[in-house]
Structure formats: structure tokens, C-alpha cells
Amino acid sequence: MRYAYYPGCSLRGTGRAYEESLVAVFRALSVEIEEIDDWNCCGATTYMSVDELTSYALAARNLALAERDHTDIIAPCAACYLVLNKTQHYMREYPSIHLVVTRALGAIGLTYKGRVKVRHPLDILLNDVGVEAIAAKVKVPLNGLKVAPYYGCQIVRPYATFDDQRDPTSMDRLLSACGAKIVRYPLKTRCCGGSQKGTLPEVGLDLIHYLLMEAQKNGAEVISTVCPLCQFNLESFQKEAGDRHHPTSIPVLYFSQLLALALGAAPDSIGLQRGFVPIEPVLAGREITYA
């Protein structure tokens, strides 16, 4: 199993722990990844709103670079995953977009034939590696740790084919295999507000708060996320959201951090120390004795 790895900008900044833990998970499961040479920003949701056409060209440069190496792409960030997939769809559906993008790529000596698949780590782990193979490699069982699985929006909607768009369960299955207990979390695909906390703070804080409250109410000890922006929002603004509504204190980890922990990775090698709501008391309470 070999894939082209597309980290995206957030995994080099606020989402560093996501990259660190994913790399640990892939290493433990012998999944080979190679970073796309000289990848560029996918444009994210922000670029789309100034200039949609250009954003497809930006995304396509990465697709073309991966195609040159004949590999499928792993895109862990929700926004990257969506934008790269959307570009694929739109190049197929709209001849005018196809033409604009093909010419832009041609200007820098690249071509794109549409052969690359853009995939999420959840998809790779579930369908290429398999739950059984992962369960067999668990060294530190999660001892019934109560997890609220939070998928957010752009992983499952609108293009993912590996999971249900309304009630996704891929993360549930992976974490259960590691011994976690999945709590009921009906808001699992509700939006966290994205960059709204920065641009329209009152609204952003409300959205963040509902998600935190719901997890706390249902007895979750930790929220597990798949997106750098969701993780950042839910973790960093708990106090602010709490001051406006009801206080919450719940650690928010990347699903890959929980997986890596179960597969025996050392906590500081997977960015556990980078969190703002400490996870150590929760792990100690469950008698999870990690490396």
C-alpha cells in the first residue's frame, strides 16, 4: 500500500498533532506514504468565495503531481479532501472548467487525465487496512474510554463514497476496534462554524457550544475529530463558549491520536502535549497505561 500524501497547510500549523499521529498510525500499520513533491495550497473554502475558477486550477496542480507518480492521494484535512474531490467532479461535469484547468496546467508543463483518487485516512484505514488488521495490532486497549465521534461536514458531504452522509460510522468502527466505547452523538455531522469564530464570533461560539454540550451531556470523556479546523474550534474556545452558555471541559483529540495511542505510540510523539484541555486525567481514570 503506497499513497501520495497531501498534508495541506493546517497540518503544518495548528493541526500538527494530526500529522504526527497519522504518520505514527501509518507506520504501525505498514502503510507507505510519500509527500507530494512541492504541493501547494488547495484554496480551501476561502479561495472558492473570491474566485472559484482559479481555485480549481490550484487544486488540480496537486492532482497532476500525484498522477505523475501513479498514486492515489491521502488528504487528511476536511477542506483539502473536499476541494480536491470537488475539482475532480467539476472537471468531469463542466467542459469549460476542464478547459480552463487543462490550459493552466499546460502553462506549467503538467497534464491531468483524471486518474487519481482522493481519499481520506478513515477510508484507507477501514477499506484498505481493515478493522481486523488494526484490532490485531492494538497494544494499549482504550478500556472503554467514552468517545463522541465528531465527523463535521466536509468529510462525508457531499462527495465521500466510503461512508453514510447522514450517519457516518467509519470512525466509530475504528475506535471500537481499539477498545473505545462510542457514545451516542446525533450532532456528529453538524457544522462547527468553520472560520465563523474569527469572522462572525457570536454565531461561531454558539455552534461550537452546542457540539460541546451535546458531547458532555451524553457522557463523552473525549471528542474525536477528523478535521484540523473542527479540532481547533472545539478545543480553543471552550472557555469563551462556556462563559456565554454553560461551562464544558472536554478534551478534543484527532481520531488518529487515539488510534496511535492504542497502537502503542509514545504520547509526545503524537502531539498529545499540544492539546489545551489535558487528556492525561481521562486516560488515567480509565487506567490506560500508555508507553
Partner: protein, 196 residues
């Protein structure tokens, strides 16, 4: 007391806008809208909007340009795609919202120092110049241009992020950065040629 006519007249419509909506990416199927309201029901932001997605669909296709481009809804949309997944007529609601936002920015219809268009502009400049985004610089640039006083309130979080190694200050740049500008120029040329 300011009194305003609350019923819209046929003459308030802008047929040109309606035509643009139904021909833009995302708007092609808008004629099929049943006004069922599933989009509004699923939208996590609709309770903050002046026109909910359902109403926005109707106003757009009928050409009520002023109402649509002046509404808060186009700025509140976070592109979470909940509406699009539910739409029984498979209308690309989210994509249309993108197009409306792009149009509103083009026409300069937003309050001064409004963070969303400012962020979009800074974001695209950084991508053009460096090929990648460095979050710390982007946030700094946006606050400097919108609400510099809020930087103070953000400084605690900034320090926490720095200490956790999550806010690198070194700016990310790709190696072949000239390629980005070349591509963007090519897009602009083709766009003009094809009048897209």
C-alpha cells in the same frame, strides 16, 4: 418612523440577475426548486439569517438582486453542504451560495472592514505569492485590516498556540512558486477569451 412597502412588485425584479443565477455553476437546477424547505431545516445557520436558504433560492431565481446580494445569509453560509445533501431536486444550493458570495464581493456589497471578504483577499494574495498558507500570518493580516483591537483579546490564545508548537512563524513557501502565478494568469486569460 420609517415606512416601507412590504410587498414586492414585479418591477423590483432584475431579469438579468435571474438569468445569471440559472446559468452560473450551481444554479442550473434552480428552476426545479419545490420550495419544500428541507435546506432551511437542515441549515445550522438558518436561524441567524434574514432570508433562509429556501427563501434565498426563490428570491434568486426570480431576480430579486438587491435582497439576495444584500442579505446576511450569503455571509453566514459555512459551506457545510447539509442543504445540498437533503435537496430532493438535487439543487447545488451550497455552490450557488458560493457564486452569490463571489458576486457580492465583486460588486463590493459588504460593510467596510468586514472580515470575510478581507480574509478571502489576503488568503488569495498569500497563495499567489507563496503557494501555501501560513495560518499565523493570515490571521495577523486579517485582524490588522479589520479589528486590530481584537488582537489583544486573541493574544492569550496566540501564546498558548506558540507554546504548543502550533503556530510556526516561519512562512511556508513552495519551491516552484512562479508556477502558481503562471497558472493564475493563464486562468485569467482563458476566462477573458471564453467570457466566463
Amino acid at each position: 418612523m420609517e415606512l416601507k412597502r412590504t410587498v414586492k412588485f414585479e418591477a423590483d425584479r432584475d431579469p438579468e440577475f435571474a438569468r445569471w443565477v440559472s446559468h452560473t455553476v450551481g444554479g442550473e437546477r434552480i428552476r426545479h426548486c419545490l420550495q419544500c424547505g428541507l435546506c432551511s431545516g437542515k441549515c445550522p445557520l438558518s436561524l441567524y439569517m434574514d432570508y433562509t436558504p429556501r427563501r434565498l433560492m426563490h428570491l434568486s431565481r426570480e431576480g430579486f438582486k438587491e435582497e439576495v446580494l444584500g442579505s446576511t445569509s450569503i455571509w453566514l453560509c459555512t459551506a457545510c453542504y447539509a442543504c445540498m445533501v437533503e435537496c430532493p431536486k438535487k439543487i447545488n444550493v451550497t455552490h450557488l451560495l458560493y457564486a452569490l458570495k463571489e458576486r457580492a464581493i465583486e460588486e463590493g456589497r459588504y460593510p467596510r472592514r468586514f472580515a470575510i471578504p478581507v480574509m478571502a483577499r489576503q488568503f488569495s494574495r498569500m497563495v499567489r505569492g507563496r503557494g501555501r498558507i501560513t495560518e499565523s500570518w493570515l490571521v495577523l493580516q486579517v485582524f490588522m485590516r479589520t479589528a486590530i483591537w481584537r488582537l489583544l483579546g486573541m493574544s492569550r490564545l496566540g501564546l498558548k498556540l506558540l507554546r504548543a508548537g502550533r503556530l510556526p512563524l516561519r512562512r511556508e513557501t513552495i519551491q516552484r512558486q512562479a508556477e502558481i502565478a503562471t497558472m493564475l494568469d493563464s486562468v485569467a486569460t482563458t476566462r477573458k477569451e471564453l467570457a466566463l
